[in-house]
């Protein structure tokens, strides 16, 4: 359900405004909104603008430090205390950021150097045989090239090009590397080196840069220095990481607290933008849940004084104008708010569909999956998700939804007598209701009937919604549509002899009478909507189609056991196929149960466009995304 809101106005002298906003932030219940008063000509707000820029700069420094030192979020749930001196804190933070950046850059530089040296060592290992031998051109030049994996013919092409260009003034050695690339060592005399270099550039063959800082440009001679450098790097890296750990341990608490305070300060500056403030008076307005009003009023008057006016704005002045929307449902239904929040929030004063989703979503899911075995597997998955997730997170909500869906799957599995398809039949499991494999038409009738109930419920909610919002004509139109559909269903049931025949004629006559009334109320477009509604009811046949398909796939999986000659191979294939079917059985029913809600059910009554309730409160990392 949508929480009932109260609009509050707070007015007083401007001096205690900061204190008032701090109390409001502490309580975390008031969603601020600008009073509906024509604002005075824009006053210069350079001071708050400057403060915002300072805070944002400090926050950028704090965020950078947190990222560079890999600090954890704040551990305390209490409001962060402000720093003793902002200026000193800013200087310290800037210095810390520079230190952390220098440390991170040094680590990156060392890691890059190590990666490059390892690459050279690969070269060295590939051409180790040359060590100790006399080089053909002792003062010549070596080119180190790595050809990418899959370019097998490139080395011979390169050799041909070089022969045409410089004759026999080069030696080309290749070696396949473990990565699939090819290492190419090209030794040339000093005379033809420039020519070879330009040929490589023209052929777009990229050279590894010559080893730097080793005192040698010839790799094969630089190997001892390279090995020594490689051995020294881990110690240097360990020193730098220890420095980073010391910095993190020293600053973690202070930076986390400061960051939380800076975020709080930014929220406070945003809140100040919603306050009308002059030389003698400030006025702020906002929304809060009705029961929270007394707490806010008493704390403000106690802590600030009697000069502050805290009052409710009469409901008749704002009823359903722009009140923010907060959803509040019983714990059992709350996880299903996840689905309501996937579409724009409902308008204030309209209907929150969460309780209906909580009932029908797992039911549709269970009807489609409808298998004790798959249901138990899903229940296991739900337990793991619950165990791995923290309270209040999306993952926890998903685990609860999975649990409810698993429950319905098991119940319908017992109704249909299914355990991993028809495997249950061999174990003595008999359907409590009907067998989906044989009673296809009965299953189809059940799903369409369920569709009829769901769509009619949507129309009932549409009538209530339209009536509540003062659109009585629309409410009557929806009511007539509802009656016409119900009467059509009665006529059809009578025609198929599921109801006594005398029901048929009165139902048809009533539909014919209702038809012109509907057109008079809603216009000719109502006819199209009526036909679309019949289409929507038939759309629930997808529950039967997906359920039957899921069962058939399970039957195919079971038949694999005897289809491969070897029982072990057959069982392995059957298990694999059941796994695939289970994965499909999770995805498809979720998608189609959601679609049935969003298109067929919500389409009847849902009024999107509500503003989310975001009270001024202390910043928490989990609220970063809004």
């Amino acid at each position: 359900m949508i929480v009932r809101m109260t609009r509050v106005r707070i007015a007083g002298p401007p001096e205690p405004l900061e204190r008032v906003l701090a109390i409001i932030q502490d309580l975390g219940v008031l969603h601020l909104t600008r009073p509906p008063v024509q604002p005075a000509p824009a006053a210069p707000r350079s001071r708050s603008g400057r403060e915002r820029r300072h805070v944002q700069r400090l926050l950028a420094d704090a965020d950078a430090v947190v990222a560079l030192l890999k600090l954890a979020g704040p551990t305390s749930e209490r409001a962060p205390a402000p720093p003793e001196s902002i200026l000193r804190t800013a200087r310290q933070l800037r210095g810390l950021r520079r230190q952390a950046e220098a440390n991170a850059q040094a680590i990156t530089r060392l890691e890059d150097e190590r990666a490059l040296l390892l690459r050279y060592r690969e070269f060295h290992d590939a051409f180790k045989a040359l060590l100790g031998h006399e080089l053909t051109w002792p003062d010549g030049r070596a080119f180190y090239v790595v050809l990418r994996a899959g370019a097998a013919g490139a080395a011979s092409e390169l050799k041909g090009s070089l022969e045409r260009a410089v004759g026999r003034e080069f030696e080309l050695l290749t070696h396949a590397l473990s990565s699939g690339e090819t290492a190419v060592l090209l030794l040339t005399s000093a005379a033809v080196a420039p020519q070879v270099s330009s040929l490589l550039a023209e052929s777009r063959v990229q050279e590894l840069p010559a080893p730097a800082g080793l005192g040698q440009t010839q790799l094969l001679r630089a190997v001892p220095a390279l090995t020594a450098r490689l051995a020294a790097i881990p110690a240097e890296l360990a020193t730098l990481r220890a420095e980073r750990a010391t910095l993190a341990a020293q600053w973690a608490d202070r930076v986390s607290t400061l960051r939380a305070w800076l975020h709080d300060r930014l929220l406070m500056l945003d809140a100040r933008g919603e306050v009308l403030s002059g030389t003698h008076l400030f006025v702020l307005e906002g929304w809060l849940p009705d029961p929270a009003f007394d707490g806010l009023a008493s704390r403000l008057t106690q802590e600030v004084g009697a000069e502050l006016v805290v009052e409710r704005v009469g409901a008749e002045r704002w009823w359903r104008q722009d009140a923010p929307v907060a959803l509040k449902n019983p714990a059992l239904f709350r996880p299903f708010e996840l689905f309501t929040r996937m579409v724009p929030l409902p308008k204030y004063g309209s209907i929150d569909p969460t309780p209906f989703v909580a009932v029908f979503f797992p039911m549709f899911f269970g009807l489609m999956l409808g298998d004790v075995g798959y249901g138990l597997a899903l229940a296991g998955l739900a337990v793991v998700l619950r165990w791995k997730s923290a309270a209040g997170t999306k993952l926890r909500a998903v685990s609860a939804i999975a649990g409810a869906s698993a429950g319905f799957s098991i119940v319908f599995g017992l109704v249909f007598g299914e355990l991993f398809g028809t495997l249950g039949h061999h174990l003595g499991l008999r359907p409590l209701g009907f067998d989906r494999e044989k009673a296809t038409i009965a299953f189809l009738a059940l799903t369409v009937a369920l569709g009829l109930v769901h769509v009619l419920l949507g129309l009932v909610l549409a009538v209530i919604n339209a009536w509540r919002s003062g659109h009585s004509r629309m409410a009557m139109g929806r009511g007539v549509t509802l009656v016409m559909i119900a009467l059509s269903a009665v006529a059809l049931l009578a025609a198929f002899e599921l109801l006594p025949a005398p029901f048929f004629a009165p139902a048809v006559v009533a539909v014919l009478v209702a038809f012109p009334i509907l057109i008079a109320l809603e216009g000719i477009v109502a006819v199209i909507e009526l036909l679309a509604t019949f289409g929507h009811i038939l759309s629930y046949a997808r529950i039967m189609a997906l359920g039957t398909a899921s069962l058939m796939l399970a039957v195919v999986a079971n038949e694999m056991v005897g289809a491969f000659g070897s029982v072990i191979v057959g069982v392995l294939f059957a298990l694999l196929f059941h796994l695939v079917n289970f994965a499909i059985g999770l995805f498809s029913p979720t998608l189609h149960a959601l679609r049935l809600h969003y298109v067929e059910f919500f389409g009847k009554f849902y009024s999107p466009g509500g503003t989310a309730y975001r009270p001024l409160a202390h910043w928490r990392p989990s609220l970063q995304g809004g």
């Binding site: 996937m342 579409v343 296809t440 038409i441 189809l444 038939l538 759309s539 046949a541 997808r542 039967m544 189609a545 997906l546 039957t548 398909a549 998608l591 189609h592 959601l594 679609r595 969003y598 298109v599």
Partner: protein
């Protein structure tokens, strides 16, 4: 009823809507992916849009099952 004709009818009842669904989804999929790249918050709309053409093949499946069952019952 001739079982061959019955099978052909059932195959056509599911085959033609399956092709139509595939074609529709091939047009919706890239458009949805492009929209999601720009606006990830449209994921719900994208899922619903992709699921909409599946109605054709699902109803085709229902009709095919009914052809086979009715034909089987008559024969």
């Amino acid at each position: 009823m001739d079982p061959v004709l019955m099978g052909l009818g059932a195959a056509l009842a599911i085959g033609i809507p399956a092709l139509a669904t595939g074609w529709a989804q091939s047009r919706i999929g890239p458009a949805a992916a492009a929209s999601l790249a720009e606006k990830p918050e449209l994921s719900t709309t994208a899922i619903v849009l992709i699921a909409i053409p599946e109605t054709m093949v699902i109803l085709g499946f229902v009709v095919a099952v009914m052809i086979l069952l009715r034909g089987g019952g008559a024969g």
